[in-house]
C-alpha cells in the first residue's frame, strides 16, 4: 500500500512527466482500441449471438457471379425445399426488399425502402427492439400478386424512421402507419445500429414464407439465413444443396416455353445459366462482400496500421520517459538500498509506479476510445448491413492495455534491476559526480528515438500520399462545366407512367419548358440512364461488348450543351434522330476507345442482336462526346452511347434535368418543387442538388480519411518530436557538469550547440534512412491495397521529399531546444551544481 502511496506522490510531484506519459499512453491505447472495436464489430466479428460461426447465408450463384463474388437470393422453390428439409438447420429465416413502398410526406410522396421478413427473422440474431416487441409467429401476412401484404399487419420500424416520422415519440407503439395505401400498426422500434440485411431499411413487415404459387413469377430475391444444427458442418449442408441443385435443374429444364408456363419460365432462365448452383457461405462474408466492403476494409485496416505505428511510437516514448526518470532516481534507489531495501522491494517500488502510470493511461485511453469510436463510425456507410452495435471491444482494450502495461513494466524493469544492483558505496558519494550518460544507455535511448523517427516517417508518407491523392482528385476535369449547374431527378408515379413512353416524354417536355421559363435558368438538358449494361456487337471491333444506354435531350433540351460537354467529333442530335428507326448514336470517348481504338468512330456501326427471327438493331455513330464524371471525380466511366430520351422506359435511373443557372440554387429549389407538383400532382419527392457540391461531397470519405491520417501522422510526429526532445534534454541534464567543464576549458557556445545538435541529427539521420527504406518497401508491397490512390504513385518523389523535409525540420527543432539550453549553461553554476 505504501508503495502505491509513494508512487502516486511521485507522479503528482512530476505533473509534466505524468501528464505526458498518461496522455501518450491514453492516445496509444484509446485510438487503437477504438479502431479495433470498429473493425471487430464491422468486419472481423460482425455477427452477434452464440456460435455466430454456425450462421450461414444460402444463395444462388452462376459461374459469372461466382467470379465476381455476387451472392444472389434464392427463389421460392429453393426456400420451399429448404423448409421441408428439417435435418440441417435449426433456424431458417429470410428477408426480401422487393418493390419500394410509398409514404406521404408533406406535398410529395416519397419512396421508402423496407423488407418483408419471416416472423422469426429478429430472433435468429437475438436482435431486440428498443421499444415494443418483434413479430409473433402468427403475425405473418400472405403477400399479394403485387408483392404487397394482402392485409393490414404489424410493422417494426427502424430507428431512423422513428426519428424522422415520429420525432422519436416514445408512444409510437400501437400507432398506425400508412404505406402504399395500406395501414400497418407499429409494434416495435429497432435500435439505431440494426440495419439488416440491407442498411437503409426503414421498416420490416412480417410475411408468410415464400412458396411456389400459381399466380406469381418466381424470382431469386429472398435472402435466406440459416443456423446449422449442432453436429452439421457447412460441407454437409453444401452437399445437401448440391443434391437440391440437381433436382431443381431437372424440374426447371432448359427449353421451357414462356407461352405454356410463363410463371416458371422466368425462374428456369436463372437455373439454366451456366454453372448455376445453390451455395452456402458463412454469414460473416456478407459484411465484407463487394467493392463497398473492400473499401471499408481498406479504410479501416489502413487506420489499424497507422494507429498501430502510433501505439509503437507511444510505447517507445513512454519507455524512454520512464527510463530517463528512473535513471535520474538512481541515487534515491541507492539510498533505499542502503537503508535495507532488497532487490525485490526496489523493483516493486519502481514497477508500482509503472503499473500506476499504465493504469492511468488506460483510464485516459477509455475516454479517447469513446471519442475515437464516434469519429470512426462516420466511415461506415449507412447502406451497409449492420447487426451488431459498435461498442468497446473488451479484448482489444485488454490487448492494448497489456501492451502499454508491458511497456511500462519493461521500461521500469530494466532501470529497476539496475537500481537494485547499484553499487551501494555510490550512495555515500555525491550523486552524479563525474556522471555522464553511459554509452549503453545512450544507445538504448537512441535506438528508441530511431524507431520513433522511422515510424513517424512511414506515417507521414501515408498521410502525404493521401493529401496528394485528394489534391489531385479535386483537380480532376469532370468532362463538363460543373459551375452553376443544378441536377433535378424526378420521381414519376410508377403506376401512371410505367411502360408509357409517350406520356412520359410529354411530361418531361412540359417540365423542361416550365424549368426553362424560370428566372435565372439559362439552359435545361434532359438525361435518362437505363442503369444496366447491354451486350452489343461492334462492326470492325470487338465482337461482344457491354455498353450502357443513356437517353438524352436534343436541341432546346440538349444535355451536352446544357452541361457544356465537349463534342469531340461529328454532331449533336436533332429532332430527326428521335425514333428507334433512326439508328443514330452519340458515344462517349471511353466507348470510342474501346470499340475503335486509334480510329475515327463517327460513321462506324454497332448492333444489338435481335430476338430470334427479328433483325439486329443497328446504330451508327454520328457524334463523339467527352467522358462525364458527374457524381464523383473518380467514378469509373463506362462505355456509353446516347439515344434520344423519348425511347427509354421508366426502369433504371430516374429522369433528370441538368439546369445551367445564374441565380441562387436554394431559391430556385422551392420554385422547382412547385412546378413539379403543378405538372404532376402525384409526383414523388425530387432529388435536387448542386452538381459542383455533389462532386465535392463525393470526395468526403477520402477527405475524412486524409484528415484522420493527417491527425494520426501529426500525433506520431509530435510524439516522436517529444521523444527526441526528451532524450536530448535528458542527455543535456546529465551532461551539465561535462558541458560546464568544456565551457570552462574554452568551448564556445556554438560548439556546444553543435555538439548536441550533431548527436540529435545522427539519430534523426539513422531513423530517416530506416523509415525511408521501410516506407518504400511498405508502399511497394501494399500499393493500392491500403490506400486506394488516384493517379498517385506510392513512391511519389514529391511526397517523399516533402515528408523528408518536414520531418527533418520538426525533428531538428526538437533537437535545437535542448541544444540551446546546453549552450546557455553557466560553467560556474554547473560546476557548483555538482
Amino acid at each position: 500500500m505504501n508503495d502505491f502511496k509513494f508512487a502516486f506522490r511521485q507522479l503528482l510531484k512530476n505533473p509534466g512527466f505524468t501528464a505526458v506519459a498518461v496522455l501518450t499512453l491514453g492516445l496509444g491505447i484509446g485510438a487503437n482500441t477504438a479502431i479495433f472495436s470498429v473493425v471487430n464489430s464491422t468486419l472481423l466479428n460482425p455477427v452477434p449471438g452464440p456460435e455466430p460461426e454456425r450462421l450461414m447465408q444460402i444463395g444462388e450463384q452462376n459461374s459469372e457471379q461466382r467470379q465476381s463474388g455476387f451472392f444472389h437470393g434464392v427463389g421460392p422453390p429453393v426456400f420451399q425445399a429448404l423448409r421441408e428439409n428439417q435435418d440441417f438447420f435449426s433456424d431458417l429465416v429470410w428477408a426480401n426488399s422487393g418493390t419500394p413502398f410509398s409514404s406521404k410526406t408533406g406535398d410529395f410522396t416519397e419512396r421508402v425502402q423496407g423488407s418483408r421478413v419471416s416472423s422469426d427473422f429478429f430472433g435468429c440474431w437475438n436482435a431486440r427492439p428498443i421499444l415494443g416487441r418483434t413479430f409473433a409467429p402468427d403475425e405473418a401476412v400472405p403477400i399479394g400478386k403485387d408483392g404487397m401484404p394482402i392485409a393490414d399487419s404489424a410493422i417494426v420500424i427502424a430507428y431512423a424512421f422513428w426519428k424522422s416520422h415520429f420525432s422519436g415519440d416514445a408512444d409510437v407503439i400501437g400507432k398506425s402507419i400508412e404505406l402504399s395505401g395500406r395501414r400497418f400498426t407499429a409494434i416495435g422500434v429497432m435500435p439505431s445500429h440494426f440495419g439488416f440485411p440491407w442498411g437503409g431499411d426503414q421498416f420490416w413487415l412480417p410475411a408468410e414464407d415464400p412458396h411456389v404459387r400459381p399466380d406469381l413469377v418466381e424470382t431469386p430475391n429472398y435472402k435466406v439465413f440459416a443456423r446449422l444444427k449442432p453436429g452439421v458442418s457447412a460441407q454437409q449442408a453444401q452437399a445437401m444443396l448440391d443434391v437440391l441443385t440437381q433436382r431443381l435443374m431437372r424440374e426447371y429444364p432448359r427449353g421451357m416455353s414462356p407461352k405454356t408456363d410463363w410463371l416458371r419460365y422466368g425462374y428456369a432462365m436463372f437455373i439454366q445459366k451456366e454453372g448455376w448452383s445453390i451455395r452456402i457461405r458463412p454469414l460473416r462474408e456478407i459484411f465484407v462482400e463487394g467493392q463497398l466492403g473492400m473499401n471499408l476494409k481498406r479504410t479501416l485496416f489502413g487506420l489499424v496500421g497507422a494507429l498501430g505505428f502510433v501505439l509503437l511510437i507511444a510505447c517507445a516514448n513512454v519507455a524512454n520517459l520512464i527510463l530517463a526518470r528512473t535513471e535520474n532516481r538512481q541515487q534515491e534507489l541507492a539510498i533505499r538500498a542502503a537503508l535495507g531495501a532488497g532487490r525485490v522491494r526496489l523493483m516493486r517500488q519502481v514497477l508500482t509506479e509503472s503499473v500506476l502510470l499504465a493504469f492511468l493511461g488506460g483510464l485516459a485511453g477509455l475516454v479517447i476510445t469513446v471519442w475515437g469510436m464516434m469519429a470512426l463510425e462516420s466511415f461506415i456507410p449507412y447502406w451497409r448491413p449492420h447487426l451488431k452495435e459498435v461498442r468497446i471491444d473488451g479484448s482489444a482494450l485488454g490487448i492494448t492495455l497489456l501492451i502499454s502495461l508491458g511497456t511500462g513494466l519493461a521500461a521500469g524493469l530494466a532501470p529497476g534491476l539496475r537500481g537494485s544492483r547499484v553499487a551501494l558505496a555510490n550512495a555515500m558519494k555525491q550523486a552524479g559526480t563525474g556522471a555522464t550518460v553511459g554509452i549503453g544507455w545512450r544507445r538504448y535511448h537512441g535506438g528508441l528515438v530511431v524507431i520513433q523517427v522511422a515510424l513517424a516517417l512511414i506515417l507521414l508518407t501515408g498521410a502525404g500520399l493521401m493529401i496528394e491523392n485528394v489534391v489531385r482528385l479535386l483537380h480532376v476535369n469532370p468532362g463538363f462545366d460543373p459551375e452553376n449547374l443544378l441536377r433535378v431527378s424526378v420521381q414519376l408515379p410508377w403506376e401512371k407512367y410505367e411502360r408509357q413512353r409517350e406520356k412520359t416524354s410529354l411530361l418531361l417536355a412540359d417540365l423542361r419548358e416550365r424549368f426553362a421559363a424560370l428566372p435565372g435558368v439559362k439552359a435545361v438538358g434532359i438525361e435518362k440512364e437505363s442503369g444496366f449494361p447491354e451486350t452489343f456487337n461492334v462492326d470492325g471491333g470487338p465482337q461482344s461488348v457491354e455498353l450502357y444506354r443513356v437517353g438524352c435531350g436534343m436541341e432546346e433540351s440538349d444535355l451536352f450543351r446544357a452541361m457544356r460537354v465537349p463534342l469531340l467529333a461529328g454532331r449533336y442530335f436533332n429532332r430527326d434522330d428521335i425514333g428507334e428507326g433512326s439508328g443514330t448514336a452519340i458515344i462517349n470517348e471511353t466507348m470510342a476507345q474501346l470499340c475503335w481504338p486509334e480510329e475515327v468512330a463517327v460513321g462506324r456501326k454497332f448492333r444489338a442482336p435481335g430476338a430470334p427471327g427479328a433483325g439486329d438493331q443497328v446504330y451508327e455513330v454520328v457524334g463523339v462526346v467527352g467522358d462525364i464524371r458527374d457524381y464523383s471525380y473518380d467514378q469509373e466511366v463506362f462505355p456509353t452511347f446516347y439515344r434520344p430520351y423519348q425511347e427509354l422506359d421508366l426502369q433504371g435511373g430516374p429522369p433528370t434535368f441538368l439546369m445551367r443557372i445564374h441565380t441562387d440554387p436554394r431559391a430556385l429549389t422551392q420554385v422547382i418543387r412547385k412546378e413539379l407538383k403543378a405538372a404532376e400532382p402525384a409526383m414523388g419527392t425530387p432529388d435536387i442538388h448542386v452538381v459542383k457540391q455533389k462532386l465535392y461531397d463525393s470526395t468526403q470519405a477520402r477527405r475524412t480519411y486524409m484528415y484522420y491520417l493527417m491527425v494520426i501522422a501529426a500525433g506520431g510526429l509530435l510524439l516522436s518530436a517529444l521523444g527526441i526532445y526528451g532524450v536530448l534534454s535528458y542527455a543535456v541534464t546529465r551532461r551539465t557538469r561535462e558541458i560546464g567543464i568544456r565551457m570552462a576549458m574554452g568551448a564556445e557556445r556554438r560548439r556546444v550547440l553543435g555538439m548536441v545538435l550533431r548527436e540529435g541529427a545522427r539519430l534523426i539521420g539513422v531513423g530517416v534512412v530506416a523509415g525511408l527504406v521501410a516506407a518504400l518497401w511498405l508502399t511497394r508491397l501494399l500499393g493500392n491495397q491500403l490506400f486506394k490512390l488516384f493517379e498517385v504513385r506510392p513512391n511519389d518523389p514529391v511526397v517523399l521529399a516533402g515528408v523528408l523535409l518536414f520531418l527533418s525540420a520538426v525533428a531538428l527543432l526538437a533537437c535545437w531546444l535542448p541544444a540551446r539550453r546546453a549552450a546557455r549553461v553557466d560553467p560556474m553554476e554547473a560546476l557548483r551544481y555538482e
Binding site: 505504501n2 509513494f6 506522490r9 511521485q10 510531484k13 541515487q331 534515491e332 539510498i335 533505499r336 542502503a338 537503508l339 535495507g340 531495501a341 532488497g342 522491494r345 553499487a423 551501494l424 558505496a425 550512495a427 555515500m428 558519494k429 555525491q430
Partner: protein, 221 residues
C-alpha cells in the same frame, strides 16, 4: 565485535590492479566509538563501505560478532546489514518525497516490522530526537542540521548495534556539527558501537580512538 584480517580491496584499471586498501588488520570492540581519519583517497569511505556490507568485492577475512562475513552469501550479508547496521551520510540522503516520519518508517518497513509496531517506534524516535513537530514536513523544508538530525534518527530507528557515519558533520556549520556529535556520544554511551569517518580532529575527540589510513594502508592505531 568487528575483526578484519588482511583485508584488501583493489580495482582493475588499464594499468592493472590498483589497491584501495592493503592488509588491513583491525579490531573494534562492542561499545567502542572509533574514528577513521586520513587524507582524501586514503580509503576511509571504502573501509566504511566494507564494514557496512555495502561493498562485497574485497579479499581477506571479516568477522562480525564472530560470524565470518567473508564466507557469507550476498543475501546473508544483506541480512546482517539489516540486523546490525545504521548508516549516516555526509549529504544526509533523506528521501525527498517522503515526510520526516515516512523517512523514519522506511528502514523499519524494509525490515518487515508490522505497521502498528512501526508507528510506535517512529513516534518514540521522533519524541526522543525532539522532532515531533517536524514529522509531516518534507526534507526540503528543514535546515541542514535538522536534516542530519533526521538522518541520524533514521540510522538508529531500527536499533542497530553499529552506526557507521561518513563525514556526518561535513555539510553542517559548527553548532549543528556539535549537536550531532553530542548525539553520537549519547548513543555510544547507551551502548551503540560507532565508527565515523572524519577530517575533523574536534569530532575525533568525541571517540575513544583514531585509526589513520594513508594510501590504503593502516598507518597508526
Amino acid at each position: 565485535m568487528i575483526k578484519l584480517l588482511n583485508l584488501e580491496k583493489s580495482v582493475k584499471t588499464k594499468a592493472g590492479f590498483t589497491y584501495l586498501l592493503r592488509q588491513i588488520n583491525l579490531d573494534i570492540a562492542e561499545g567502542e566509538f572509533v574514528t577513521i581519519m586520513g587524507p582524501s583517497g586514503a580509503g576511509k569511505s571504502t573501509l566504511l563501505s566494507i564494514i557496512g556490507f555495502y561493498d562485497s568485492a574485497w579479499e581477506g577475512e571479516y568477522y562480525l560478532f564472530d560470524q565470518a562475513v567473508h564466507k557469507l552469501a550476498p543475501k546473508e550479508r544483506a541480512a546482517l546489514n539489516k540486523r546490525h547496521v545504521g548508516f549516516v551520510f555526509q549529504q544526509f540522503h533523506l528521501l525527498e518525497d517522503l515526510t520526516v516520519a515516512e523517512n523514519l518508517d522506511i528502514p523499519l518497513s524494509y525490515r518487515d516490522v508490522r505497521k502498528s509496531e512501526r508507528e510506535g517506534i517512529v513516534a518514540d524516535t521522533l519524541d526522543r530526537f525532539g522532532i515531533v513537530a517536524k514529522k509531516d514536513l518534507f526534507p526540503s523544508q528543514l535546515s541542514g542540521g535538522q536534516q542530519q538530525l533526521v538522518a541520524v534518527a533514521r540510522a538508529i530507528v531500527a536499533k542497530p548495534s553499529l552506526i557507521l557515519a561518513d563525514e556526518p558533520t561535513g555539510n553542517l556549520h559548527s553548532d549543528q556539527g556539535r549537536e550531532i556529535m553530542e548525539l553520537f556520544k549519547k548513543l555510544n554511551d547507551a551502548g551503540t558501537t560507532i565508527v565515523q569517518v572524519t577530517h575533523s580532529e574536534t569530532n575525533a575527540a568525541y571517540g575513544h580512538r583514531v585509526i589513520r589510513l594513508r594510501d590504503g594502508w593502516l598507518a597508526k592505531e
